[in-house]
Every structure is written in structure tokens, then in C-alpha cells.
């Protein structure tokens, strides 16, 4: 039995490994072709590059290309991603908390309004949204299109429903006694939220941040409408579109650009992965102990 089980597991490991190789194949293609010249990539797209030094040549070409403006695009992407993540998580957690802790018709209705956002597809609101942002500018002089704050407000609006929903589910499981005890200690309502609830919510914060980071960093349609392709403020996907969408396909440079576009988020998440995993794991136990201990 034991020997048989071992053989089965070895076979399964081999199958998994083969699938892994297949799934990693496109990454391999991107990496080897980023280090080829425009001639080499046409004649032979599947063998290893003759000179890896070409990679640096291509990277510096992309870096200095005025249609991509790599460093400024990465900068814009970082500002928009970080700005949106911070605001989405904190604002959604705040909303979810008051919605859970206030039992009234108003709070139920508002929660349902947020939930409706989960089924409204972006396509239904995208054209009127642009028109509405323009109306706001005409009425108040506050520019929303082609600005960072317009972009971030849009992400809060589209990101809030799912985040509120996730926080709502988790906050319901936090015992009310914890908050009552803090009230007795003289804590005000905002203090309760920022000093007691926020630390407990950390694992959900991590989940919401990861999900939204992947979405916002890679999003194309929303920024293409709010910021526009080829404008001053452009995110990485817009830059890629501006460069790769043209009729003449310089595949060697597109592959390098693709590599440079995907690298930041992969590197950041891979670097953060051990921390995130360790954190989620440790947090589960810490919270269990903390919540259990505090209301005994």
C-alpha cells in the first residue's frame, strides 16, 4: 500500500510539474524575446537569445521612448494604485462598521444600495460617467477627467461595494462586548473604530488590498475613459496600449515593454508573499486569542 501510494504521488507530482511548465511557457517566451533584436525575433522566436545584453538595449529603448514615458507612467500607476487602495480600504471599513453597528432601516437600505453595485457592470455607467464628470467641471470648475483625484474617486466608487461587503461579513463576527467594554472605558465611537476595530480587521485589509491591487494596477478600460490614452497622466496599461496598439508591431520592444509592465506588481507581490502568508497565519491565531481573551 505504502509503495503504491508513493508511486501515485510521484506520478501526480510529475503531471503537476508538466502543467506548471505549460503555464509558465508564456512567461518564458516574454523573457527570451525581450532580449532579441527586431531581426532575431522574426527569424527565431522560440530559441534562447544570442546575446542577453540586448535586453539592456531594449530596456533603455523603452525607458527613453516618448510614447511610453515609462518612469512617469509607473509613477502615475503607483500614485493611483496606492491612493486608491488606501482610501478604498479605510473608507469601506468605516462604512461597513457603522452599517453593521447601526440597526435601522436607513442602514439596511444603504447596505443594499452598496450591494447593487456588485451587479451593475461597468459598461452601463461608463459613458454617462464621463459625461457627468464633464458636467461637474462645467458647473464647479473642479476638473475630474485626466486628474489623479478623479481617477481615485472613480476607483473608490467602483471598489467600495465588494470591500464593504467583505468588511461587513467580518465585522458581524466581532463580539459587541468588545466595543461595549471600550465605551465603558470612556472611548468615543471614532476611537473604538480606529483603535479596536481596525487592528482586528487586518486580515481582511490584506485580502482587500491584494484583490484591488491586481485589479487597479492592470485596469485598462476605466483609466482609458477617465485619463485617456496618450494624455499627460497615463497608467502603465495605457502606455502599453499607446505603444503596442499602433499598426506596425515591433514585437521585440513590445515584449520588453510587457516585461517591464508586469514586473513591478509581480516583484512586489512575490516579495510580499512570505510576509502576507506569515501575517495571515499568525494573525488568525493572534485575533482568536485576543478576541477570546478580551471578553472572558
Amino acid at each position: 500500500m505504502g509503495v503504491k501510494k508513493n508511486t501515485v504521488n510521484t506520478i501526480l507530482t510529475i503531471i503537476t510539474f508538466l502543467l506548471f511548465v505549460i503555464i509558465m511557457f508564456p512567461f518564458f517566451i516574454v523573457v527570451i524575446n525581450s532580449a532579441k533584436s527586431s531581426l532575431e525575433i522574426i527569424t527565431d522566436p522560440i530559441s534562447l537569445p544570442k546575446q542577453w545584453g540586448q535586453l539592456l538595449v531594449n530596456i533603455s529603448d523603452i525607458w527613453n521612448r516618448p510614447s511610453i514615458r515609462y518612469s512617469s507612467s509607473v509613477f502615475s500607476s503607483v500614485i493611483i494604485t496606492v491612493g486608491s487602495l488606501t482610501t478604498i480600504t479605510i473608507f469601506s471599513a468605516m462604512s461597513a462598521w457603522v452599517l453593521v453597528r447601526t440597526k435601522s432601516k436607513t442602514s439596511t437600505i444603504i447596505f443594499l444600495v452598496f450591494l447593487s453595485g456588485l451587479i451593475i457592470p461597468f459598461q452601463v455607467v461608463m459613458f454617462p460617467l464621463v459625461a457627468f464628470f464633464r458636467m461637474i467641471y462645467e458647473a464647479t470648475g473642479l476638473r475630474m477627467l485626466r486628474t489623479y483625484h478623479g481617477m481615485i474617486i472613480a476607483y473608490i466608487g467602483f471598489g467600495a461595494p465588494l470591500a464593504v461587503f467583505m468588511f461587513h461579513g467580518f465585522i458581524k463576527s466581532i463580539p459587541l462586548e468588545l466595543e461595549e467594554a471600550a465605551t465603558i472605558d470612556g472611548c468615543s465611537r471614532p476611537q473604538i473604530f480606529f483603535k479596536i476595530i481596525m487592528p482586528i480587521l487586518r486580515p481582511i485589509f490584506v485580502t482587500v488590498i491584494i484583490l484591488n491591487a491586481i485589479w487597479i494596477w492592470n485596469d485598462f478600460l476605466l483609466p482609458s475613459l477617465i485619463l485617456g490614452v496618450g494624455q499627460d497622466v497615463q497608467t502603465i496599461p495605457l502606455a502599453i496600449r499607446a505603444f503596442a496598439g499602433s499598426f506596425v508591431k515591433k514585437w521585440d520592444l513590445i515584449m520588453t515593454a510587457v516585461l517591464m509592465a508586469a514586473a513591478p506588481i509581480i516583484v512586489v507581490l512575490m516579495a510580499a508573499a512570505p510576509i502576507i502568508v506569515g501575517f495571515l497565519f499568525a494573525q488568525k491565531h493572534i485575533i482568536k486569542g485576543m478576541v477570546a481573551g478580551s471578553i472572558k
Binding site: P45, P121, G157
Partner: protein, 360 residues
Amino acid sequence: MHTHPSYELKGKGKFPIREETKTFLLIHKKNPKNQTNHNPISNQNQVTTNKMTEGEGKRMNKKAKEKLVFWLFLVPALSSFILVVVVPFFMGVYYSMTDWTAVAGQQANWVGLGNYKNMFSDLAFRYSFLRTFLFTLLSVIAINAVALTLAFLVTREIRFKNFFRAGFFIPNLIGGLVLGYIWQFIFKSVVPSIGTLLGIEALEKVLILAEPNLALFGLIFAFTWQYAGYIMMIYVAALLNVPQELIEASQIDGANFIQRLRSITIPMIAQAFTITSFLTLVTSFKQYDIIVALTNGGPAAIYQGTTVNSTEMLAVHIYSVAFKYNNMAEGQARAIIFFIVLSVVSIGQVYYNKKKEVEM
């Protein structure tokens, strides 16, 4: 009376709550009689109680304060949501019944259901509808089949399973637009080269993105590559929750792999099926980024004597009607229909799956 450190800290707005709460609760539990005399926190408790009974005015004040906090905490998220989703949604419903052009200064005139009537007589729209359904159906099947297989593999006793799990998830970090270009290159250059290398002529000559059905297949392939790892994670979580005792008991009873799968594993992960089918269905139906970068709607096909774009799914179609053909109002009307169909289909699916869950 003792002066408690918390009194000094309170003024500065720094209140070590958790410690204090614990102390209070500990004392409260251990000797309930003592606390009234010796613990200053309980005095404060009395003060609060007194305050509450002092009069209507104070109580109203407290209620008003809570209401203020309620709205203050809601305002940032709720106002953004109203600004970018609720208001544009109702504007959209209105615009879909006008001849709206989105040009500044041009008045939108009421046309009733005209845009909707045009839509159903438009062959391009009908074709796009059918293709979207086909694409969604095939994607849901492909993604779930691949994801479930991967999930089964990485929950077995194999080596490096955490490494494999992470590896299968990585394609999900690549955005639709970027991966569309990657796969465009693979389908156009890499596949023929592999054909040459292996001496397979069919592979060498095939133009995947130039033939309507092959292009659709290419889209599904690229999309599955991206999304299966994400769905796998949901299946992994569900599979890890299947009680080991059940599996062991069935093994003792002599059940084989297929029997175990049908009678234990699948019913136990029924809830995950509801979630994964919902997610894959909605994501496939709304797919835009990959299509734009991989095929951009093409290649052309003939449908009932009209030239149509073979991979122009609804999300892309709506965009191109609005911008390419410069017909905002009609694009908006199609978006409304898109929303209604998506809601009906996805709610129907969840309802059906939930019923199945119970039966299982």
C-alpha cells in the same frame, strides 16, 4: 482613591483600551464587590450611567452624536459610490431613450424606445449576442475544468505544492491588456515556429487569429490561462475543508476514486461551485481587455449575408457602437440590455446552484 494612569492619558487622546478593558473585565470577573470601591474605571462607569439618566437633553445629545458618526463614517465611500455609479446609472437609463451624442452643448432629445428597436434589428448586435453566449459558456466550462484539475493536484500529497499553487496563480497578476499582446505574439509567431521545429505542417501554417472560430478558441485559451489559477484557489480552499474522516471512512468501505468524487467531494464543495460559476460567468460575459489586445474584435465573418466581427463580444460591441460609429445613445441602450441580461443570467445561475446545493 487610586489615580489610574488611564485618566492622564485620556486627555491626550491616547487611551490604552485593550489593556484597560482587560483589567476592568478581569477585576469585574474576579471580585465583583471590590471593584466599586477600588477601580476608578468602574466609577467612570457610574458617571456614564448617571449622565444617561440625567435628562432627556443629554440622551438626545448622545443620539445625535451617534447619528453624526454614522453619517460621517459613511460619507466618503457612499458619496463616491453615488457619484460614479448611482448617478451615472440613472443618467444612462435616461440617455438610452434619447438621441444623446455626448457632444458638449448639444441637447439630448427624447426618442422613447427607438434605440432599443434599432438594436434588435441590427444583425451585428444579434451576432455579438450569440458569440458572447458561446464565449461565456465555453469559458466557464474550460476555466472550471482546468481550475478543478489543478486544485485536485495541488491538494494531494505531492511535493512543492505551495510552490505550484503560487505558480498557477501568477498569470492572474498579468492584466488582460498585457496578456492579450503576449498571446497575440504566441499565436502569430511562436506557434508557427514550434510547428517548424517539430515538423508539423498544420501547426506551421495555421493562422489562429485569422479564422473566426479559431480566434474564439484562442481567446478562450488565453482567458483560461489567466483566470484558472484564481478559480483554483477557491476550489483549493473548499477541498481543504472536506473532512478527512469522510474520505478515510469511504476508503475503508472500499470506495474507488470516482465513487468518492461523486458521493463525497463534489457534494461537499457544492458551495464553491456556486461561487466559481458566478465569478467565471460574470467575468467572461464582461470580458473586454483581452479581446481588445488579442483580436480587437476581428477577424471578419459573414452572418446572414452581413459582414460582422467574429470576436466582438458585447462589451467590445457597446464600445465600438458608441465611439467607432459615433452613436452614444445606441451604445448606451445596448449597455442597458447587457446589464439586464447579465443580471438575469447570473441571478438565475446562483438560484439554480443554491437549489442544487440543498439537494446534494
